[in-house]
């Protein structure tokens, strides 16, 4: 078979993304139609910058999701096909079998794997980890930042010192110390996960308890239900193979395998934990600053006069009024987390070496960059457009939320 021309490659890639285009068009059409009823999200469609940013982000989100469902990928992202090493884009697969896609659309990498499919699969890793890690970082930051700002005093001094401590640490040094197989073997990431993942549960419990404290008949079943599910998820998250921490010399039992919903491999867990760990002090500082500002407002004084408890005021008076800057920072922070994940991959830390995430593929591709461009450029551009989309989205949200 003949190699594809540039035009054919572009058309074929465009065609591979059909499902993404359909999803994007549907999303935009529905949102545009109902934009007046959708609050801040609807207002996003008034700002061209915000729309472009949101489009870019959703493109990669849909790519990640459909890629995980094997809709977009053309080849197995991990399979090596002999004779395809470093082949340029559009090369027909040598000895393609019936039913197999006949070309490497963006060429082959140094281990003769399909660059295009790896890029698509890499999107799924980012789309899974980055938002989730950011959510956890926000939970930790909010749960600690609100009381620090609201109560002040010694609590504030201690927590601020701790957060400055982590912030003074160069991120890469921290990653090099934390994200190594040796550290995984000692179980340090498991301890950190056990501590860090408690915060969302505390957050949920306090949130619901402070709201429905006066209606015990409604509150008690609600708390039991929500916390039951949350604690179950928490235990499934932190325990692997029936153990929370498992090292060569000792182990701490977790929940048995039958009840364990999902297992997270040690490599992914340590990446996740360290990204949350690095991000939460910054969130803490932002929340603390916002709380210090908002607690002087009249409505807080009114709530205090009404006799509301401190946690109710923090979570139901201060937090909703701090949402604007927090949402903007959330978008920026997902972008930053994506960059951090890429950095980890770039230094070959954490994720397994054959993993198709963008950082690792860039790292692999850069070694032969002076001769072959095609393995390194697609993941680099993918990462660039995704982070750019998030930044534009944040900019659009900021502009729109400042308008009213």
């Amino acid at each position: 078979m003949e190699p594809l021309t540039t035009f054919e490659i572009i058309t074929r890639i465009f065609y591979q993304f059909t499902s993404v285009w359909i999803a994007l068009i549907l999303l935009f059409a529905v949102s545009m139609a109902f934009k007046r009823r959708l609050g801040l999200y609807g207002k996003l469609y008034d700002s061209p910058i915000g729309m472009v940013g949101f489009g870019l982000v959703m493109f990669w989100v849909f790519t990640g999701i459909f890629g995980a469902m094997d809709l977009i990928v053309t080849q197995d992202a991990l399979a090596q096909v002999s004779g395809m090493k470093n082949k340029p884009p559009g090369t027909p697969v040598s000895g393609a079998e019936e039913g197999q896609y006949a070309w490497y659309l963006l060429g082959g990498d140094n281990l003769a794997r399909d660059v295009f499919s790896r890029m698509v699969k890499g999107a799924w890793i980012v789309v899974q980890i980055a938002p989730l890690a950011t959510v956890f970082a926000f939970m930790v930051g909010i749960t600690l930042g609100l009381p620090a700002g609201y109560y002040g005093g010694r609590l504030d001094t201690i927590l601020s010192f701790l957060s400055n401590l982590i912030l003074a640490f160069p991120v890469i040094l921290l990653f090099y110390l934390l994200v190594t197989p040796e550290i995984v073997a000692t179980g340090v990431p498991n301890y950190m996960a056990t501590v860090l993942f408690v915060f969302p549960i505390v957050f949920l419990a306090v949130l619901l308890n402070s709201r429905f404290y006066t209606q015990p008949r409604f509150r008690t079943p609600l708390l039991i239900g929500v916390l039951g599910v949350a604690i179950w998820l928490y235990l499934s998250l932190i325990s692997n193979d029936g153990a929370i921490v498992q090292t060569s010399s000792y182990w701490i039992p977790g929940i048995p395998n039958i009840l364990d919903l999902f297992d997270i491999p040690g490599g992914v867990l340590v990446v996740f934990v360290s990204v949350v760990f690095v991000n939460s002090p910054t969130v803490f500082r932002i929340v603390r600053g916002l709380t210090l500002d908002i607690k002087t407002r009249d409505y807080v004084a009114a709530a205090q006069t009404r006799g509301e408890g401190p946690w109710y005021i923090m979570l139901w008076e201060i937090l909703p009024n701090a949402r604007g800057p927090l949402i903007v920072d959330f978008c920026l922070r997902i972008g930053y987390t994506t960059i951090l994940l890429g950095t980890l991959g770039f230094f070959g830390l954490g994720l397994p070496p054959e993993s198709p995430d963008w950082g690792s593929t860039i790292n692999e591709g850069r070694k032969l960059l002076s001769v072959y461009l095609h393995p390194a450029l697609p993941p680099a551009l993918a990462l660039l457009t995704m982070v750019l989309g998030l930044n534009l989205l944040a900019d659009g949200l900021r502009e729109e939320s400042l308008k009213d």
Binding site: A168, F346, S370, A380
Partner: protein, 348 residues
């Protein structure tokens, strides 16, 4: 003011102590020590050999004791070998046990011996810091003026076409981490595949003598990422100043636009970026590590990678001390500088 600085220095020292202890703890976990023993000896060592190696080096003492030895407040560990010779941290090759001092740590000015580079840590860090200093000097020279220019131009008239274009450019650069922009630059300007062989893809030769050809790409790569952020801050502060009352008064008096920008607005608009530039240093440190790895420039960032991947404890500690001090000192300078630049703030 004096009290303020004194207090800050105290907090700084405490932070540095806590962080070095943390590094100490993490590098001294047993699997890390085992790795150290195997890279020092050979990879086929049995468990007994590993533990005897660690025993000889004094690695098996409790962590606080080892930390005290490193600081120089506890006498250093000595091990008597079977043949009667004594080895220890303070006893350098060629010295006898009687000649060497009992305490040797940071307080005595001894930073330890690097197991990777087979040299004293202080000299390794010194030479590498000088190389990175050269890199940073050019980065600053490129980054700060262009970022300020970009921000001031964009902030002069908010919402104008120039503003939109420059702001989009600034956002794009902040969204491009060094490992992406570096790869793109090498691909476009240095690879034989595109053919524009304007620059060199490695900066190894720039360590000896830097030329435009071999040094521009790494400098540009680091500068771009920080530039966008500083430019956006400058723009924000400039737009704020441009809407101030005294600018309007000057406008109404008939002062020309260029005069207003140069003489009235610029000075006040540059206070905020100063702090931001200072706080960029820790970020630049990350950039340095990535770019030095990417362009194979053997500076401080490269040493960090080497030390960390080989678990060279002494070197890693020195590296973290240096980087933590850089971060904390720049924070202090930015606080003090802010007070001097902005007369409305006074610290009692």
């Amino acid at each position: 003011m004096g009290l303020f600085i004194l207090k800050r220095v105290g907090v700084m020292l405490l932070t540095a102590l806590c962080l070095t202890y943390l590094v100490f703890f993490l590098t001294n976990l047993y699997p890390n020590l085992e790795k150290l023993a195997k890279t020092q000896g050979n990879f086929r060592m049995s468990d007994e050999q590993v533990s005897s190696f660690l025993e000889k080096g004094g690695y098996l003492q409790p962590v606080p004791v080892k930390y005290g030895e490193w600081l120089g407040i506890l006498p250093s560990y000595r091990h008597t070998n079977e043949d009667g010779s004594i080895q220890g941290r303070c006893i350098l090759p060629g010295q006898t046990a009687e000649d060497s001092p009992e305490f040797c740590g940071i307080l005595q000015g001894y930073w330890g011996y690097s197991t990777v580079f087979k040299d004293e840590v202080s000299s390794v860090v010194g030479t590498r810091l000088a190389l990175t200093g050269k890199l940073m000097f050019w980065v600053m020279l490129l980054m700060i003026p262009s970022a300020l220019l970009l921000g001031v131009l964009a902030g002069m008239k908010e919402g104008s076409k120039t503003d939109r274009t420059l702001s989009t450019f600034a956002i794009t650069t902040t969204a491009t981490p060094e490992y992406v922009s570096g790869v793109i630059f090498i691909a476009v300007f240095a690879s034989s595949a595109v053919g524009l062989k304007w620059f060199k893809g490695t900066a190894t030769s720039a360590m000896e003598h830097a030329t435009f050809e071999n040094f521009f790409l790494p400098v540009l790569t680091i500068s771009l990422y920080g530039m966008g952020y500083i430019a956006r801050m400058t723009r924000a502060s400039m737009t704020e100043v441009m809407t101030a009352q005294y600018i309007r008064t000057a406008r109404l008096k008939g002062v020309s636009f260029s005069n207003i920008v140069m003489k009235h607005a610029l000075r006040n608009a540059l206070i905020a970026p100063f702090t931001v530039i200072m706080l960029q240093f820790p970020w630049l440190l990350n950039g340095v590590v990535i770019v030095e790895t990417l362009f194979n420039y053997k500076g401080f960032g490269w040493v960090l990678v080497q030390a960390a991947s080989n678990n060279d404890i002494q070197l890693l500690l020195a590296v973290s001390v240096v980087s933590v001090i850089v971060v904390l000192v720049t924070q202090l300078i930015s606080d003090i500088g802010y007070v001097y630049l902005n007369p409305r703030i006074r610290i009692a």
